[in-house]
Structure formats: C-alpha cells, structure tokens
C-alpha cells in the first residue's frame, strides 16, 4: 500500500515538475547575465577571452577564475565573489595591472593615419569610423579604452595613442572628506 501511495505521489509531483520546467522555462543563463552585468564591458580581452560575455560564460562554467579582469579591479573581484559566494582573490598579474580609475580613450592622429581600416575592424564597440585609404576617427563617447587598436595592430608608429578623458565640471567629483581629514591631521 505504502509503495503504491509513494509511487502515485512520485508520478504526480514528477508531472508537475515536468510541466513547470517546460511552461516556465528560463531563456538564456541568468547567472551569466548577472556576471556580465558586473564586468566593466571594456571588451578588452585581457582576461584571455574575446570579450566580457565570453568571460562571464567561462566563469559560469567554472573554466575561469574571477580575478582575470584588470579594468574591473579589486572592486570587481569583490563584487563577483559576493555574487558567487566565493572568497575574493587578488587580481592575477598575468592578465595585466589594475586600472587606476582614470577613464581613457583612443585618439587617432589624422596626419599619420594611412587608412588601413585594421582598427575599424577590431574595435569591439564600433567606435572607430573610417574607410579604406581615408583617415579614421574615434567616437569618444563610445570608446571603452580597450587598447585593442594600439600597435602592434596599428602598423604606424604613434598613430593611435591613449589619452585621459579631460575632466569637466559635470564629471568632477568632490574629494573624499575622510582623506582630507587625514591629510590635515598628518
């Protein structure tokens, strides 16, 4: 009798679970989305993957550590550790040095550009415009500062350089009062 009841229960619940699994199916992998939303979207590839989303996928599949993203810095590692319930680990120096926080954009020197379109093709966010044998230009507002377009990709020396975004009143930040306090005490 007991066996029969349990079997019936198992079948009923199995049916419910099966129905729910089809009816409320989640498209895509939510954990990958969450990891991707923490990553800085520089698309620089310093992590060893061809962009932020592939790296997020690799973390989700347990193929990569969470400390391979220099632009995200230690704060990024911390956020990933919080999300995944793991311990924060220091950045892997093999992937490059942590960002110092100053936003940078690429600038093309119009005098030296030969119009080879190599940078146009490699830019992960389509922030470089130009056609073959015409001068190229960077759209500042979209450049993520990934440095993929820099030499050796660019065949001309000193053609593409990185430049810090000029501070403006809109982007200016008040200094941390704690730092100011300590500075005066010292």
């Amino acid at each position: 009798m007991a066996v029969l009841i349990l079997t019936i229960l198992a079948l009923v619940f199995g049916g419910i679970l099966g129905f729910v699994a089809i009816r409320f199916r989640v498209e895509g992998d939510p954990i990958v989305e969450k990891i991707d939303s923490i990553l800085p979207q520089t698309q620089c590839g310093q992590c060893g993957y061809p962009g932020c989303r592939p790296y997020a996928q690799a973390i989700a599949d347990d193929e990569a550590e969470i400390n391979q993203c220099p632009p995200g810095g230690d704060a990024g590692v911390q956020a990933l550790a919080d999300l995944l319930g793991s311990e924060p680990i220091p950045l892997n120096p093999e992937n490059g040095e942590a960002d110092d926080g100053l936003p940078m954009v690429a600038v093309i020197d119009e005098e030296t550009c030969i119009g080879c379109t190599k940078c146009v093709q490699v830019c992960p966010v389509d922030a470089i415009v130009g056609a073959a044998k015409h001068k190229h230009n960077v759209l500042d507002a979209y450049c993520t500062g990934c440095e993929l377009c820099l030499p050796p990709l660019c065949p001309v020396e000193d053609c593409i350089v990185m430049r810090a975004v000029e501070p403006s009143i809109k982007s200016w930040k008040w200094p941390n009062p704690e730092a100011v306090d300590e500075g005066q005490a010292a």
Binding site: D36, L39, P40, Q41, T42, Q43, G51, C52, R53, P124, V125, D126, A127, Y142, T144, P167, S168, I169, S171, W172, K173, W174, P175, N176, P177, E178, V180, D181, Q184, A185
Partner: protein, 508 residues
C-alpha cells in the same frame, strides 16, 4: 496679517548683515579685461557667435543656444574680443571652461540697437517671454535656472512668490536692492504677473530687513496713488528669520503651508518662485531693453576693509573687486563665493564674477577646518536641524561606505546642502561635504553603469552584424555556385542538343 506656517528644522544663525548693508551701492570700475564664461546657468553651454578680433558693444550677444534650458550670454562692456578659450571658472574644482575674453576700451558703450521700450504693457505675453529669454535672465538667487523656462507654467498658478528672504549670513545684495530700487522691483513683478497669471503675489522678506519691507510697501503705495491699480494684489510679507527660509521649498511651506513633492517643482503645487534680483533684471530687460550684464555683489567678511555691495560687470575678476574693497591680510584669507553655509571656496582670485555670484566672502583662512572632526556620538542633533526631514546621521554612514542603494533609500538626492546639520554637529563632522562627495560618487557610478550598458549593447549589435554579413556572404557564394552550375548544365544541354541535331543531320 497673513497666516504663516513653519518648516521643520532649521537653525538661527548670527547674521553679520550690518557689515555690508549700511554702505550705499558702489559702482565697480571697469577692469582692463573681462572674462565671460559661456555657461553661467544650469543647462547647456551657449555657443559663441563672435570671433577673436571682433569689436563688441556693451549688451551685444556673444553666445547663444537653441536649447530650452539655456540662456544667451552678452558682452558686459564694450571692447574687443581677444580670446575665446578655457579659463578657470568660479567652481570648487578649479576646472577651466570656455570663456570669451574681452579687452575693454573704457567707453562702456551700449549697443546702438538697445533702446528703452515705451509701452511695455502693449507687449504680448509671448513677446515678453522672448525678451526675457533673449536678455539672458537666469535666477539670481544662486541656482541660475533660466527664468524664461519657469514663466510658461503648464498648469494654473495660484501664487507668484518673489523671494527677498536672503537667509544666509553676510549676504546683503538683495536687501540693498530692495531698498534702492523698490519701484523697479514692483514694476518687474507686474510684468511677470502677466506671464503666470496668479491669484495673488507675495514678496517674502525676512523680518530682519525692516527697511526693505518699508521701502517695498512705500513703493506699492506710491504706484497705487499713481493709478497703477493692479498693485492691489501684491503683498509684502515679513517672515521669521530662520535659516534656510530662503530656500524655495521651505519658503513655499512658510507662506502657503504647501509642500513641493519630492524631486518636484513648485509649479506642481501651483506656485512660481522668483528672486527679487531676477525681478529687477526683468524690469531692466523690458523697460530699458538692457540684457543681464551686471549684478549686485556683496563684498564682505571679517577680512574686508570696506565691506559693501558693488554693482559689478559680469566677467570682472574677483581680484579687481578686492582691490577696491581692500583685504586685510591677503596671505591668510580664504575666499568664498556665496555665503558661509552654501558657498564654496574659490580656486584663486582671478576667477570672474558670473551671474550666480551674489557674494564674495573673505574669511580668515581655515578657522573651522582646524577643529578636527570627532567621531559621531549619535546625538541626533542633525536630524532635528534638517529642514527636509532627512536622517543626516544615516546618510553619513552610508556616504562613508559608498552604499549607493542605501543612500537612495535615505533620500540623499533630496538634500539641499543647506549645512544646518554640519553647523549643529557637536563633533564638527563636515556632513555636507560627505553628502556632496557621495552625490558626485553616485553620479559617477551611475554614469559608469550607463556607459557599460551602452558598450554591451554595441558589442551585441556588432556581433549580430558580423553574423549577418557572414551569412549574407555565404548566401551570395551559394547563389553564385548555383548559378554557375545552372549555366554549366545549360551549356551542356545546348551541347547535347547541338550534338543531337548534327547527328540527325548526319543520319538524313
């Protein structure tokens, strides 16, 4: 006697108003060079319409913008444009913004097209609005919001509030303006009233300015006798002296008992609020046709030898004013633009006076900062003093921890940075500084997220595009191959057919 309400919190502060309000208005001398920033208002930067080398008249348009929330900029004196480049503007950061630099010729000659308007009452409301906008008038109380944008309310207005409260210590430019030009202010109000059509109009003045109240009442009486009957609905109301009663939302609460909704604007509760300086500037713009090229500035503070209010051409370097007023000890003087509560340090004395400059305060260097801040003892004095009803103590913890979600939860964006909490704090914690810091950090964080989202989207679109191009290429290849095969088959058929024909011929 009008019924008044109270806003919560606030503090009583020593006024120090007598330092500068007893002297008469002084005309500042024309400096050798005026530096006029192209963004002196909230909103978009105006675009220059003059070139280096151009001669400009006083009041000539030098920069304009098509944006609704923006204001044109005019030359404040005659001379020639010697540069259009970046100069340090009066902002805490010391960052340079684009300015038009004019070498003055000393003639101070108005543009020949500027002439008084003989019948301002015949102008239509739209014409008035356009003239106010074209005169570059912005809120002169300190927030520098383009006034024309306020004067087209989208719902009926019950009350037009003219703000002559001037609640910050030391500042007296509005007080002196009300005493010296009361009639112009009333006439300015009559013009503005036509644009917003309120049921009543209140000029609010703190009760520590009895001369200003009397001057305004006398002017109303005089205009009434002169037959300008419509002044009947203008009332001067004395309100208790409590800081920050001059803050727009607090003033509205005191006068009407209404509260402006969170992050809302006064027109939502049927009120338009303008500063007395703005009203006088409107009078100048309509009656005299003169754009906003000068303003009253209080030069005051313990370090000033002859504190007074100066009529200053916009773009005049602060150092030029200080020369005239005299500074006691230049080396240990700290210059503040605005009052001691909400003002900010100037990076140096060469920055120009702008539309927002109501006061230059010269204090002894760092008297307050020397008192090191002590740990918070959770006394709650800040929460009692906050006129908005925020919890500064909680905001302080979360500002230090940069917990942006919690800061939002405790309504950081509603903080008006009045400084009441910092003044009453027994541990001398620079609370407002923490909140300003947290606000800019939060804005930077949000911008970063926005840019990341944008980059993510662009990457996805790029990948989709590459995919599409690849697919198209493959399709084209396949099509070409198919076409080639077909052609081949066709020629083979032809061949076969030809072969069959010739075979047939042969057989016959």
């Amino acid at each position: 006697m009008k019924k008044l309400w109270r806003f919560r919190g606030g503090v009583k502060l020593p006024g120090f108003k007598t330092l500068s309000n007893s002297a008469s208005i002084r005309q500042s001398l024309i400096p050798g060079v005026v530096t006029i920033p192209l963004r002196q208002h909230i909103g978009e930067t105006a675009e220059p319409v003059v070139k280096v080398g151009d001669h400009v008249y006083k009041g000539q348009l030098i920069a304009t913008s098509g944006n609704f929330i923006s204001a044109p900029v005019h030359a404040s004196t005659s001379g020639s444009v010697i540069a259009i480049d970046k100069h340090t503007v009066p902002h805490k950061s010391g960052i340079a913004e684009v300015c038009v630099v004019i070498e003055t010729d000393g003639a101070d000659q108005w543009h020949p097209d500027i002439e008084p308007c003989t019948h301002p009452n015949n102008l239509s409301a739209d014409e008035l609005r356009t003239r106010i906008r074209e005169a570059g008038i912005v809120g002169l109380g300190g927030a520098v919001f383009p006034s024309a944008a306020k004067l087209k309310p989208t719902r009926p207005i019950d009350t037009l509030v003219i703000n002559g409260v001037e609640c910050e210590p030391y500042i007296t430019c509005d007080d002196v303006l009300m005493r010296s030009r009361p009639e112009d202010i009333i006439r300015g109000i009559l013009l503005l009233r036509r644009l917003v059509d309120p049921a009543e109009c209140i000029i609010a003045v703190e009760d520590n300015k009895p001369e200003a109240i009397k001057a305004l009442n006398d002017a109303i009486k005089k205009l009434k006798i002169a037959g300008v009957g419509s002044v009947n609905t203008i009332h001067v109301v004395a309100i208790p002296t409590v800081y920050p009663a001059g803050s727009e939302k607090q003033l509205i609460k005191v006068l009407t008992g209404k509260e402006v909704p969170q992050q809302g604007l006064p027109y939502e509760v049927g009120i338009v609020c303008l500063n007395v300086g703005t009203t006088a500037a409107t009078y100048d713009a309509i009656y005299d046709g003169k754009p906003l090229v000068s303003r009253l500035v209080s030069i005051t503070g313990p370090q000033i030898k002859h504190p007074a209010n100066y009529n200053v051409l916009l773009g005049t370097p602060v150092a030029h004013l200080l020369e005239d007023a005299g500074v006691r000890h230049v080396d240990d003087t700290k210059l503040i633009m605005g009052g001691p509560m909400m003002g900010h340090d100037l990076p140096h004395a060469q920055v120009p006076v702008v539309k927002a400059t109501n006061c230059i305060l010269a204090e002894k260097a760092a008297p307050l900062e020397n008192i090191a801040s002590m740990p918070c003892i959770r006394c709650g004095a800040c929460a009692t003093a906050c006129p908005i009803g925020l919890l500064p103590q909680q905001l302080y913890w979360h500002s230090r921890g940069k917990d942006f979600d919690k800061l939002e939860h405790y309504n950081l964006p509603d903080c008006i940075e009045c400084g009441c909490c910092a003044v009453v704090c027994p541990s001398h914690i620079p609370l407002v500084h923490y909140f300003r810091y947290a606000k800019t950090e939060k804005a930077a964080h949000e911008l970063k997220l926005k840019l990341a989202d944008q980059a993510r989207l662009r990457t996805q679109e790029r990948e989709a595009r590459l995919e599409r191009v690849k697919k198209e290429q493959e399709e084209r290849k396949a099509r070409r191959k198919a076409a080639r095969l077909k052609k081949k088959a066709a020629t083979a058929n032809q061949h076969n057919a030809d072969g069959a024909e010739s075979a047939a011929k042969v057989s016959t």
